[in-house]
């Protein structure tokens, strides 16, 4: 009798194990099935005669890039897990339990959302409430399975090491961040990339056709070429010369091959003139190439100045002198002021005529020195526009740089400097031989963060310059809002992303920055 009851208990336990393993297997196969149907659907359209671009575009629109990868990975993982679970592996059981818990949370959220939309849409009652009911059943099943594994954990074999259980714990901690990053950052990025392969237009009617154009947008955006142009010859065969004595060159589009005209290349700058030839640099989208130049210039100069000033300010804040607290507070004020405010403030300060406060100051100095008064139109000329941008950014973000560097400075023990004093090293030697090398890791990190921010600069350029000159980000914005070319604007976004990525890789290589 004893024997039969244990046997019954064992079979019933086995039933539950089979059921849970079956559930896992079902979910895994389901995920794989979604993955496969995505592909077969695309293949069927291809077989039906649709051209390759259209099929690819359709697949990407329906499935995206990330989702199939998640389906594939999750499907294989769940099937493997189900097999290990069947073998009564404790470690697999712990992970199954973990997944069930997440499943419970997810299905609860799903039920709440479905209920919300059911109440909002006022569909026919039965239809609207079917989905929440299914959700509730799912949630209850998963909860039961979760609780069952918890109370029967001794039925499983093997041992979970401390490292394994803490890995599980760590994943629990990361789930919220993972969800936010995947759904609000990576998913839009993926959509941007897909859109960049099309000629989609913003706010086009529903019937507007979206075509797959491959990398055409990128070709147009990044199309640059260098050409040698021969001078215009006069009757004698020598180079013609105009009144001012400069050699006359024909317009590039008149003499170069047809693609130059057909692809709408335009001249950006002349690189060098040698004898009767000159080297010209042209681009298909001169504004974008110009915006890359502006942004790189802005980034390199402003970050360098910010680094130097930042080290100075951080060292001042870190040393002891009367009024130090006051100065620290004062130095950080620009950081606390919203960028739009500081940008606006500086447009007033830099105004072209003598009503601009900077020009008023310059005029005052000129007056006292007896020089003729001269106002500079800071925001009217291209060269000074970029200088103004750099000045605003330096004013605004140097405090942030200083704060990061300060954290590094405070980790340097004071007795190193005392030892250096005893050895007779002066302040400058101490700075170059001690502070800078010891601060190097912090400098590297600060540089990375500031550079990546500067490459993405938007608000200063948009508020102060609008469309007079572009940064990469404002160009991206204006291509979208002005010409409504969603596909093209998306390509701009992807190119910016790739440039930032290249910057990061370069930094990682050169400065040896690594994620801890």
């Amino acid at each position: 009798m004893d024997y039969s009851s244990t046997a019954r208990a064992r079979t019933s336990i086995s039933t539950q194990v089979y059921l849970i393993a079956g559930l896992m297997l079902l979910l895994g196969v389901g995920a794989l099935w979604l993955f496969v149907t995505g592909i077969t659907d695309a293949l069927m359209h291809r077989a039906a005669g649709a051209d390759f671009g259209a099929v690819l575009l359709r697949y990407l629109h329906v499935n995206g890039i990330i989702l199939p990868l998640i389906e594939l990975g999750l499907g294989l993982y769940l099937i493997r897990l189900a097999a290990r679970f069947l073998r009564r592996d404790l470690r697999a059981a712990m992970w199954v339990r973990q997944l069930l818990l997440w499943g419970v949370v997810a299905s609860t959220v799903f039920v709440v959302q479905a209920l919300g939309s059911a109440l909002a849409t006022q569909m026919a009652a039965t239809e609207a409430y079917m989905i929440p009911v299914i959700g509730v059943i799912l949630a209850l099943t998963l909860t039961y399975a979760y609780l069952w594994i918890g109370s029967n954990i001794e039925k499983f074999e093997g041992q979970e090491t401390l490292a394994e259980s803490s890995a599980r714990f760590a994943w629990n901690l990361l789930v919220p961040t993972l969800l936010v990053l995947v759904f609000v950052a990576l998913r839009p990025l993926e959509k941007t990339f897909i859109a960049s392969l099309t000629d989609q237009r913003f706010a086009a009617g529903a019937d507007a056709e979206v075509n797959f154009v491959g990398f055409d947008n990128y070709a147009k955006l990044l199309g640059v070429r260098w050409d040698l142009v021969q001078c215009t010859t006069d009757d004698t065969g020598a180079c013609a010369v105009d009144e001012s004595g400069a050699t006359v060159f024909p317009r590039a589009r008149d003499v170069l091959d047809e693609t130059y005209r057909d692809l709408r290349y335009r001249e950006i700058s002349t690189w060098l003139t040698l004898g009767g030839t000159k080297l010209i640099f042209s681009a298909r989208d001169t504004n974008f190439i110009g915006s890359i130049g502006n942004t790189l210039m802005f980034t390199v100069v402003s970050v360098t100045i910010e680094l130097i000033l930042g080290i100075f300010i951080a060292m001042v804040i870190n040393s002891k002198f009367p009024g130090r607290g006051l100065m620290r507070a004062a130095m950080l004020v620009p950081w606390a002021i919203p960028t739009v405010v500081s940008a606006k403030l500086w447009t007033v300060i830099l105004r072209d005529n003598s009503s601009g406060i900077l020009n008023a100051g310059i005029n005052l100095i000129q007056r006292t020195l007896g020089l003729p008064e001269e106002s500079i139109a800071w925001l009217a000329r291209p060269e000074t526009q970029i200088i103004a941008m750099i000045a605003i950014d330096v004013w605004k973000t140097t405090p942030f740089m200083a704060l990061i560097l300060l954290a590094g400075l405070q980790t340097i023990p004071a007795d190193i400097y005392e030892a250096a004093d005893v050895d007779g090293a002066n302040r400058i030697t101490q700075f170059l031989r001690l502070t800078i090398p010891l601060l190097r890791p912090t400098i590297a990190v600060a540089l990375v963060f500031r550079t990546l921010d500067a490459v993405r600069v938007f608000d200063v350029f948009q508020v102060v310059l609008a469309q007079k000159q572009y940064s990469m980000a404002t160009y991206n914005y204006y291509t979208l809002t002005n010409s409504q070319q969603l596909g093209y604007a998306s390509a701009v976004g992807v190119v910016i992303f790739v440039i930032i990525l290249l910057f990061t890789v370069a930094y990682v290589r050169i400065l040896g920055v690594s994620a801890e």
Binding site: S166, A167, F169, A170, N172, L173, L174, T177, L178, V180, L181, V184, A185, L186, P188, A195, V316, F321, A330, M331, L332, V333, W335, A336, I337, P338, T339, V340, V341, K344, L345, T347, V348, S354, S355, G356, L403, I404, A407, G408, Q410, R440, T442, F449, F458, D459, A473, T474, N476, Y477, A489, G493, V494, I496, F497, I500, L501, V513, A515, E516
Partner: protein, 295 residues
Amino acid sequence: MSAFAAHSLEADLALKAQARRRKMIAGFGFFVLVVTSTIAVVYPFYWMVMASFTPEGYSLTNAPLLLPDRFSVEAYQSVFAERPLMTWLGNTIAVTLGGTAIVLPAALLASYGLNRFRFRGRMVFIFLVLLCQLLPASALIVPIFLIFRDYKLIDTTLGVTIAFTTFMLPMAIWVLWGYIQTIPHEFEEAAMVDGCNGLQAFIRVTLPLAMPGIAATALFIFLEGWNHYLLAFVLTSDTQQWVISLGLYSFIGQYVIEIEQMMATSVIAAFPALVVFAIMQRYLRGGLSLGGLKG
């Protein structure tokens, strides 16, 4: 012998005097540098406040450098009368506080998990965070706009808050990581030996010790939220849903006549951020350490 000693004493004194003089000059130079750089940093801000208190139209023609000879609060009266400033401020506070409330717990858990545990997939996750840190907001505005339109989040404070969250989360993780790293993990181990589970050890031991770092991160997120511009610009068109930075932007095109009003709005926009900053800035005493990355 004695003459030699006297001479050396004299020389010694002279040397000391010279050293003292040099130190004084260095001190004076240091002082001048500190004062000039402080003025350079603070003066534009001072000018903004001053110009906001002049009668309308005054700063356009007079451009006072230090003190205007006429004061007025009419700029403040007119901006409050003409524009929904209080609504904008309310929206900004909602976005900023809401964003902080979402970002802070998520970033805290993530940075703790990444800092304390070694597990498979950790490097992939760190890479993912770094990748999201690199995303230019301008590249994402289109899909975010389209996705948010599907979820009816356009022209809502919630939408702006969610979008803001995404861009703050990676940065908050790095900042918090730096602080969590300074807490010895032996404390948590001791708590676990005493019978706490992982979560309890985190809540009871790590969390209280990390409070200054959490405060600094919260301040950081708050300031960034107050700063926040591009996404709000794209996601809201209804002026009732604007944040204050967008309100300021609306002065574009009219700035020739309304410097005082613009400056008054700037002062109002900067004021809450400065108050919060003044209260919380002591938590930044040790600087912002971005511990997740090492040079």
